[in-house]
């Protein structure tokens, strides 16, 4: 690491602290799953009568063996699927059916979550203004912006996905196995930024990870599906 980037990181940290002070009066929000039931067509219910309340100061880990509906619950919470019964409420109101959703999801396979025919710059600009500090702290390089998704690796793409989600100013982030296919260094780096941003902007988090160590490190609370 060069001295310049160290200096940049330090000043970045300081501004983030200042912003955190400014945001101190940001209101708490509550994401609630009320009596949630869901089953895919022609199969039995995967989720039945599930109740979960997440606040903005929490990072909740969803625990369940594979195939028990963790990802399905993530999609329900982020509004990508509609429940058969029950509801997902953000501050006692249902999630909006159009416009920017304040509950944003980050997917396991970033290469499937990005438009293959759009350059990264365009993809980023779709979700609003991304601050240069955020791009810097996520380690996104300028030359990547003019590339297409297939010209970047999974770890590089996942950084864009995080930048895009954070630019939408969400109150909650749903993270479904976002670092499974990344090496340990990238994993640590991405989570470091994500946790810092979430604490700074008071964003609540629900996440899934198969790694017990990672869960222990990140979660403030666990929830068995």
């Amino acid at each position: 690491m060069t001295l310049d980037t160290v200096a940049a990181n330090v000043s970045d940290l300081e501004t983030s602290r200042l912003k955190a002070d400014l945001n101190a009066d940001l209101k708490e929000a509550v994401l609630e799953a009320r009596d949630l039931s869901f089953g895919y067509l022609n199969s039995k219910k995967i989720i039945s009568d599930l109740n979960l309340i997440v606040r903005t100061n929490e990072r909740v880990a969803l625990l369940a063996p594979s195939g028990r509906g963790k990802s399905t619950l993530c999609k329900l919470l982020a509004g990508y699927l509609l429940p058969n019964k029950g509801s997902v409420l953000l501050d006692d109101k249902p999630l909006p059916q159009s416009g920017v959703c304040l509950v944003q999801m980050v997917w396991q396979h970033p290469e499937q979550a990005l438009d293959p025919r759009m350059r990264m710059r365009q993809t980023l600009s779709e979700s609003g203004v991304v601050s240069p500090e955020l791009i810097e702290s996520l380690g996104i390089r300028q030359k990547w912006l003019s590339r297409y998704p297939h010209e970047l690796s999974g770890g590089e793409l996942q950084r864009f996905c995080l930048a895009r989600v954070l630019a939408a100013s969400p109150r909650f982030i749903i993270a479904d196995e976002i670092s499974t296919m990344l090496d340990a260094l990238t994993q640590a780096q991405i989570w470091q930024v994500l946790i810092r941003e979430c604490e700074k902007r008071r964003i609540g988090m629900v996440f899934v990870s198969h790694s017990a160590m990672l869960t222990k490190r990140i979660a403030t609370r666990t929830f068995k599906v």
Binding site: S153, T180, L185, Q189, H210, R217
Partner: protein, 348 residues
């Protein structure tokens, strides 16, 4: 290299050993020395399309790695760093614009491109990462037996009579059923080849059934198509494919994506068994947690080369690791500091 006594030297060829590392016959099962791979490309920042000059882009440089009998060696590195390229070059797959230099020894013999190609499947086998590597239109039993390619039939014919049959062999392979003689010229040699082929096929079928039994695959699995397999079954089918011709070294390229650590350990138990029987496994992965829990030795791959080849036990303490990148990897693990330097060029 030939004068070195491998059993006596604790540390040689730039690596340290694990308890399970053996030197059968006084040498390594596989040893790669100073491998360099570069690609001829056109300048990416040329002023115009027509003025672009050819440049050499170096992807792998000065790479050394050894595989001993009885061990699993994990190559750990970031995705997109060229690990799969290494696997390809060990199998003798070279892109037309690639320049490859270095030496590869297999079981004491020095290899070249032609001999590596010969070893493919018959000494070094690849276990690819997903079911996508199976032909979706051929039943898995047949695929494991390996009669999907015309050249294996051609080989049968060649064995009977190397000169006369090879011309007819392609016509045999074109007809689905060996008894269908419409497009086979009616010579004695062809009949001989056909008979030989039939026997050979029966043998391979038997071997395939045996392998399926060993890996708990039902006999009816052989008549399923790849899309009908679960993830775990597909993994075992791929392993059976690799084991059909008694390899000595298996190269496993990210064999456990999407599995949690417990399931991955089950998946890798088969590799462990293979290693315990005297084989060597080269496990290519990005997942250091997995590597540390199943491998005997870990080779840390960074920036196009192996920066450190060490026993898993040395990962207990960062002071036992010698390269800064290995240390950074240690510090980045969730059970340790979970720390990574921010910014793009973190470690340069």
């Amino acid at each position: 290299m030939l004068t070195l006594n491998h059993e006596l030297e604790q540390s040689h060829h730039h690596h340290k050993h694990a308890n399970t590392s053996h030197h059968v016959g006084g040498h390594h099962l596989m040893q790669v020395e100073n491998l360099n791979i570069s690609f001829t490309m056109y300048e990416s920042d040329a002023r115009s399309y027509f003025n672009a000059k050819q440049v050499q882009s170096n992807v792998i440089h000065d790479l050394c790695i050894g595989v001993h009998s009885g061990e699993i060696v994990a190559i750990v590195g970031a995705s997109g760093s060229g690990k799969t390229l290494l696997a390809d070059s060990l199998m003798g797959h070279f892109e037309p614009n690639a320049t490859v230099t270095g030496s590869i020894w297999f079981d004491g013999d020095k290899m070249d491109a032609a001999s590596l190609k010969k070893l493919r499947g018959h000494g070094i086998s690849l276990v690819p990462q997903s079911v996508n590597f199976l032909d979706p239109l051929i039943k898995v039993g047949k695929q494991v037996q390996g009669f999907t390619k015309s050249n294996s039939i051609k080989k049968c014919a060649d064995k009977v009579s190397p000169k006369n049959i090879s011309n007819n062999a392609s016509s045999i392979s074109n007809s689905d059923d060996a008894n269908n003689s419409d497009d086979v010229s009616n010579t004695g040699n062809t009949n001989k080849a056909r008979r030989f082929f039939k026997e050979h096929r029966a043998q391979r079928a038997k071997l395939q059934a045996k392998l399926f039994e060993r890996y708990n695959l039902n006999s009816n699995v052989a008549s399923l198509y790849p899309f009908e397999l679960s993830g775990g079954m597909a993994r075992r089918v791929l392993l059976c494919c690799a084991l059909m011709d008694n390899p000595k070294v298996i190269i496993a390229d990210e064999p456990t994506p999407g599995l949690d650590l417990e399931l991955a350990k089950v998946a890798l138990a088969d590799f462990r068994q293979f290693a315990n029987d005297g084989g060597g496994v080269l496990l290519i992965t990005h997942d250091i947690e997995l590597a540390l829990s199943v491998a005997d030795r870990v080779a840390v791959f960074y920036d196009g080369t192996v920066v450190e080849e060490t026993a898993v036990a040395n990962f207990a303490n960062p002071d036992l690791l010698s390269h800064p990148f290995s240390k950074a990897l240690w510090h980045a693990l969730p059970e340790h500091d979970f720390f990574a330097p921010t910014g793009g060029d973190a470690l340069s």
